[in-house]
């Protein structure tokens, strides 16, 4: 025990190296936030499988490697980056190894939306300090979360999206994080503020140009004011040797609506924490996820939907397709607080194992403290449904065609919920390639 504490903290110390070199901000509160995070990070430990929240996810391979903060700026050319661009995007912000790359960012479709701010945080901080301060670091707490603390300690740059009152952004905003260097740790940070009655779609997209080990430790905070609508598409297609840790915290005000589709394809070990707080009456969230993994990958998704006020609605469908000796973990917590009467919540976790060595651990976790609520949940783990296979065979499809189609469909059901055609098509192709047998 004491040994792991020592290695844990020295490891964190090494991760915190380079933090003091960050330029200090002109804003005192931001410097204070970072200092608090540094202090917190140096007292926390790297979690082990003895921690309940990390029972199935052994991240010791991560702490056995040393990762440095990004030093050299990457000179990534447009030719290398543009294959990841989304043709539908109104605005694109590109970060290379966590560092904002203005030469790759842009407004392919421009925007006529009055007052919409999409920029990198370090530039925005001066002009929009008053708008940022009430939100930045307020949702993704780092008291008990060493990775959020590390990210906040390094909080310098990131993506800021500020959608003013009643502005409806028609085209999606693309946040593209490209990994190009090995053995580096990057700490991407996103803040989305959707003011009352506004609507926006963001794509948070993690990609790689290499197959080496590196660490991505991301934090995203999303604040929805009254009646705001946010569609959040998250695609994690990091290198299969990479470590991807991410915390996303969402806060929903009165009658706001948050919809999220997150797809985990890459990384040797990935962990995504999504915490959604329905903080006012009539808030609504739909949270869907797909993990499609193989080899020795591990994909862990922990979600928490916290119904704090009455008349909230939440739906969640999480699916895993696990091949090879891969391991998927899902922990879906739903809290209905005493005040949250008339909550309507449903959750399903469905898992498909394509190999005898594949493994899934799924745990729905309901904590209901109100009496007038509707909460449905269910979990299945298994192979393809015999009745579905028979149905397709009875229409002339061969066994293998039937199985391929059903496996594809299992994943495509989640991909179909992505509203951006080119991204949907790309991901459908990935599902197709990864699920088809001869």
């Amino acid at each position: 025990m004491s040994l792991s504490m020592v290695t844990g903290s020295s490891y964190l110390e090494s991760l915190l190296q380079g933090q003091p070199q960050l330029p200090s901000s002109p804003l005192a509160w931001l410097n204070q936030l970072r200092a608090d995070a540094v202090e917190r990070a140096s007292t926390l430990k790297v979690p082990t499988t003895r921690d309940e929240e990390w029972r199935f996810t052994d991240i010791s391979p991560l702490s056995n490697l040393s990762f440095q903060p990004v030093r050299a700026e990457s000179s990534l050319s447009i030719a290398d980056a543009e294959k990841f661009y989304l043709e539908e995007a109104a605005i694109r912000l590109v970060f290379v190894d966590g560092v904002y790359a203005p030469q790759l960012s842009g407004q392919p479709h421009g925007t006529k939306d009055v007052g919409l701010v999409v920029t990198n945080l370090s530039e925005a901080v001066a002009a929009h300090a008053a708008a940022i301060e009430p939100h930045l670091g307020r949702y993704a707490g780092f008291q008990d979360n060493v990775f959020a603390a590390l990210n906040t300690a390094f909080l310098h740059d990131g993506a800021l999206i500020l959608v003013p009152r009643s502005v409806v952004v028609e085209k999606p905003v693309h946040l593209l994080f490209i990994a190009t260097q090995k053995e580096v740790a990057s700490h991407p940070r996103c803040l989305l503020i959707a003011e009352s009655g506004s609507a926006v779609t963001i794509v948070e997209d993690y990609v790689s140009l290499q197959e080496d080990a590196y660490v991505t430790n991301a934090v995203t905070e999303i604040a929805l004011a009254d009646n705001a609508q946010v569609d959040h598409i998250r695609v994690q297609r990091d290198s299969n040797e990479a470590f991807h840790i991410a915390n996303c915290a969402v806060s929903l005000a009165h009658a706001s609506r948050y919809r999220s589709v997150s797809v985990a394809l890459g990384a040797r070990i990935s962990r995504y924490n999504l915490n959604t707080l329905l903080a006012a009456e009539g808030a609504e969230c739909a949270i869907d996820g797909l993990a499609l993994i193989t080899g020795r990958q591990l994909a862990d998704t922990h979600t928490c939907i916290d119904h704090a006020k009455p008349h909230g609605t939440s739906t969640q469908s999480h699916k895993c397709i696990v091949d090879g000796a891969a391991h998927a973990v899902f922990n879906g917590k739903i809290v209905v607080r005493p005040d949250a009467q008339r909550t309507d919540s449903s959750q399903s976790s469905r898992n498909l194992l394509l190999n005898a060595k594949a493994r899934v651990d799924t745990k729905p976790q309901l904590e209901i403290f109100a009496d007038d609520v509707k909460c449905a949940h269910g979990a299945t783990v298994g192979q393809l449904d015999n009745e579905e296979v028979f149905y397709l065979k009875s229409r002339g499809l061969s066994e293998i065609t039937a199985r391929n189609l059903l496996t594809y469909a299992f994943g495509a059901e989640i991909i179909d919920r992505i509203s951006i055609a080119s991204l949907k098509h790309r991901l459908e192709q990935t599902v197709l390639e990864q699920t088809q047998r001869n």
Partner: protein, 262 residues
């Protein structure tokens, strides 16, 4: 319709089958010729749906005795998909929902598979779209159902329409409709049965598996068989269905037991 020059499509002799070790079919004899419509009636648990599934080749059912000849060949030599390609079709009582696969994609895949088997031309997505829309008119089916997931969120009536649409596309020699009338309101029943009637001709045959006589007001059978405890205990003409409607099923089994004692 009974024709003089008809061909035997299906010949079932002494068919026995079990599910989970329990015998459900206890010796079925049935001959179906081209042009004919047969109704198989019986109470729940009589084995009529099992017969449909066994003929289609569901792997939960084990054939333990008897023979089935389909168009002159041994049906049990064929896998379910080979039976479908050879012209046997089962319209499911509970069609399966497959979210994530567009109905149009599924229908085209099935259609092209059977077309290829018959040495006929396969259709690309655009050609198929025109073709399937014509077929949908037959069933008064909204073309929007092409873009949805297979049966995903369809009402009972829409699912049954989709089954008959598949029948229209695959043009089977022998169609087995398992409780196609269940869960249909009167309008859906009319359009579904109207579709079936337009698809029957002197070269194909239909087996209607049903609990209720109501369906037979719309699709008139040439033969009505009554099943009980895994056997066909009585066969008659369409008037037998009306008699079952007024008198129930009990008298048939009483009559059969009396006959057996003689």
């Amino acid at each position: 319709m009974i024709y003089q020059d008809s061909k035997t499509l299906l010949e079932v002799r002494g068919l026995r089958a079990t599910v989970n070790g329990i015998e459900i079919l206890k010796g079925i004899d049935l001959t179906v010729r081209s042009g004919e419509i047969h109704a198989i009636m019986g109470t729940n648990g009589s084995g009529k749906s099992t017969l449909a599934k066994v003929l289609a080749g569901h792997n939960a059912y084990k054939v333990t005795g008897g023979s089935v000849t389909f168009e002159g060949g041994n049906l049990f030599d064929l896998e379910p998909e080979e039976r479908a390609r050879a012209g046997l079709f089962l319209a499911f009582q509970y069609p399966i929902e497959i979210p994530g696969v567009a109905n149009s994609h599924f229908l085209r895949l099935a259609y092209n598979t059977v077309q290829a088997q018959r040495g006929k031309e396969e259709l690309d997505p655009l050609e198929f779209e025109d073709f399937v829309r014509e077929k949908m008119k037959l069933l008064e089916m909204n073309p929007d159902f092409l873009d949805r997931g297979v049966n995903e969120g369809f009402s009972g009536g829409e699912k049954k329409r989709n089954e008959i649409l598949q029948m229209a596309l695959l043009e089977p020699r022998l169609a087995i409709l398992d409780e196609t009338d269940s869960g249909l309101d009167i309008d859906a029943l009319k359009s579904v049965t109207n579709g079936v009637n337009q698809l029957t001709n002197k070269d194909n045959a239909t087996i209607l598996v049903t609990h209720y006589q109501r369906l037979l007001n719309y699709i008139v059978p040439d033969y009505v068989h009554v099943m009980e405890s895994g056997r066909i205990i009585k066969t008659g003409g369409k008037e037998l269905a009306l008699e079952l409607e007024t008198r129930g099923y009990d008298w048939v089994s009483v009559e059969q037991r009396t006959a057996a004692r003689v």
